[in-house]
Amino acid sequence: MLRKYFPAISASARREERIFYLFILPWLFGLVVFSIGPVFGMLGLSFTDWRISLDNLQFVGLENYTKLFADPIFWTSVGNTLYIVVGRVVFGTSFALLLAILLNQKVPGIPFFRAVYYLPTVTAGVAVALVWIWIFNPRLGILNYSLKQIGIQGPNWIFSKTWVKPSLILMSLFSVGPNMIILLAGLQGVPKELYESAEIDGAGHWAKFKNVTLPMLSPVLFFVIIISVVSSFQNFTEIRVMTEGGPGESSNVLIWYLWENAFIFLQLGVAAAVAWIMFVILMALTGIQFRVGRRWVYYEGEA
């Protein structure tokens, strides 16, 4: 049985194999200690009444989960997370695609614009989140001031229960840099002959976009959507710096709910349950996207 998977090999091949495992050893060790171990540890701890210390842990079965499912704030944070994920995927991906198409035009100055569009992504962090509080300031901020100049009374942005999530989505549009670059590389990989033959057939811009660009771009688009979903779950910095889940609970997303339970309310067992649910959701989403993706993604060379 084992022979089938580990066929006998020569001495030199065995030596190479030893070097292979020696070289991947640091990564393998890290994987077990920092990823796989934690995933299972988390599952185990989510069935305990763990609060601060690990001594005297009591097994409480599914209590943390039932507590969680009975907590309306948990469901609010699930809803908020979905809202932001969908918003970021739909608007973020479309916006990144628009930018990529612009940067793919044959006009002078493209490297300059590419750098400018990428810039907010590399500086995304606490410093820029602080600036955005100021930009979103309803009375003194540049955003509402600009809107006023064109006759629009701006909303209260992050200080408003209805506008806080759209505000965060709007802000996230400024850091679509990686998706923009990946889509741009995808656009540049579309064979020119396809556009030429489409033009000969009399296709206009829209027809070319719909019938050539989108199908050829679909594998890349698909990859971009996956990273967008995953990264939307990680938006901790903005929430911590700008809203702390508020106003009310209107920007309480899962990662913030997890943080609050773990490190503010010290309900670590509950936090472990939340973390495990988040982990399962992420894995499921990735799995679903892989499945759905396989159906509508066009791969070159397929019939």
């Binding site: 066929p7 190479e16 194999e17 292979f20 070289f23 991947i24 640091p26 990564w27 393998l28 060790f29 890290g30 994987l31 200690v33 920092f34 990823s35 171990g37 934690p38 540890g41 690990l54 628009l98 035009q105 006009v107 590419r114 750098a115 400018v116 990428y118 810039l119 907010p120 590399v122 962090g125 606490v126 410093a127 602080l130 600036v131 955005w132 100021w134 930009i135 003194l140 540049i142 001031y145 400024f174 840099g177 670059i181 990946i182 889509l183 590389a185 996956i226 990273i227 995953v230 990264s231 779950f233 901790f236 910095t237 911590r240 990662i255 997890l258 773990a262 973390a275 982990f279 992420l282």
Partner: protein, 295 residues
């Protein structure tokens, strides 16, 4: 038939040219306003950093300060209470440099193994690399926190500085893609000369992969310099804090903050990232494109 066809060709090219001019105008009509929008947060940051406090709250808001108050940078840096930016910057720098080196060393070894060595079980482990590439660390913090607590590492830099020495799936993947492009003949020639894998890696792969390694170094620099979640989680005392946490501590309750000083320090914190980005832009763009397309 032939002359007629040529005539057709010319008219076709002409119409394309006419369309092209309009296309250029439309492109710039979008490129430029978007560019301004993308730079606006920086302009707001720098202009606030240069204003006296009373002008920060002036209405209408002005992007160009009436009076420039350079002292803001020194005053902001001086900090207040227990927030000390010199210490924070030093800590950020130390952690960032360590993590870049750790990541490069551990990921180079694993990437070489996955790209160039034959072994049973290799495909299985590479599938794990691909699966964990997308796993966000945030989902694992609770148990990692216990682990580091048990080891007595809380409030030290170890939880931030040790894991990078154990590889990162995303970097391993990127570097492996690059290593696959190095010609087989070079390796064969080296083997004939009696070189072992350690020498092939050091004398052939690393010199030839400088652009890829530079890309990873830039990614690692930006990621670690901006890292907020980890330091916030593991560090308590002011002496060990990093720059992003210092910045947040500067932020008082809503609306009751010395915005001009905070923006001055924020500007200083962003400068290293800007410099790295501007000088490393070429590598950066290539690296990201590789992650999405050649995968």
């Amino acid at each position: 038939m032939a002359p007629r066809k040529r005539k057709q060709d010319v008219s076709w090219r002409k119409s394309i040219k006419g369309r092209h001019a309009i296309g250029i105008i439309i492109t710039f009509a979008l490129l430029i306003p978007l560019g301004i929008a993308f730079i606006l947060p920086f302009i707001v940051m720098v202009s606030t950093a240069l204003k006296p406090l009373n002008q920060v709250f002036a209405f209408p808001p002005r992007l160009i300060p009436e009076t420039v108050q350079w002292e803001n940078f020194a005053d902001g840096w001086y900090g207040y209470g227990y927030v000390n930016f010199t210490t924070c910057t030093w800590n950020s720098l130390k952690i960032t440099v360590n993590n870049i080196i750790g990541n490069l060393v551990s990921c180079t070894l694993a990437a070489y193994a996955f790209a160039r060595l034959k072994a049973r079980g290799k495909n299985f482990f590479f599938a794990i690399v691909l699966a964990t590439m997308l796993l966000p660390n945030e989902a694992l913090v609770v148990p990692q926190y216990i682990l580091f607590n048990k080891l007595g590492w809380l409030d030290t830099h170890l939880p931030l500085m040790v894991p990078p020495w154990f590889g990162w799936a995303f970097f391993i993947f990127l570097l492996r893609q690059f290593f696959l492009t190095i010609p087989e003949e070079l390796i064969d020639a080296a083997k004939i000369d009696g070189a072992g894998h350690a020498r092939i890696l050091l004398q052939i792969f690393i010199p030839l992969s400088k652009p890829a390694l530079a890309t990873l170094a830039i990614f690692a620099f930006i990621g670690n310099w901006n890292n907020f979640f980890g330091p916030l989680l593991y560090l308590r005392t002011p002496d060990v804090q990093t720059l992003p946490v210092c910045l947040v501590q500067y932020q008082g309750a809503y609306g009751n903050t010395e915005w001009h000083l905070m923006m001055a320090v924020a500007t200083i914190a962003v400068i290293p990232v800007l410099l790295v980005f501007i000088f490393g832009q070429r590598y950066f763009v290539e690296g990201i494109a590789t992650s999405g397309v050649k995968g």
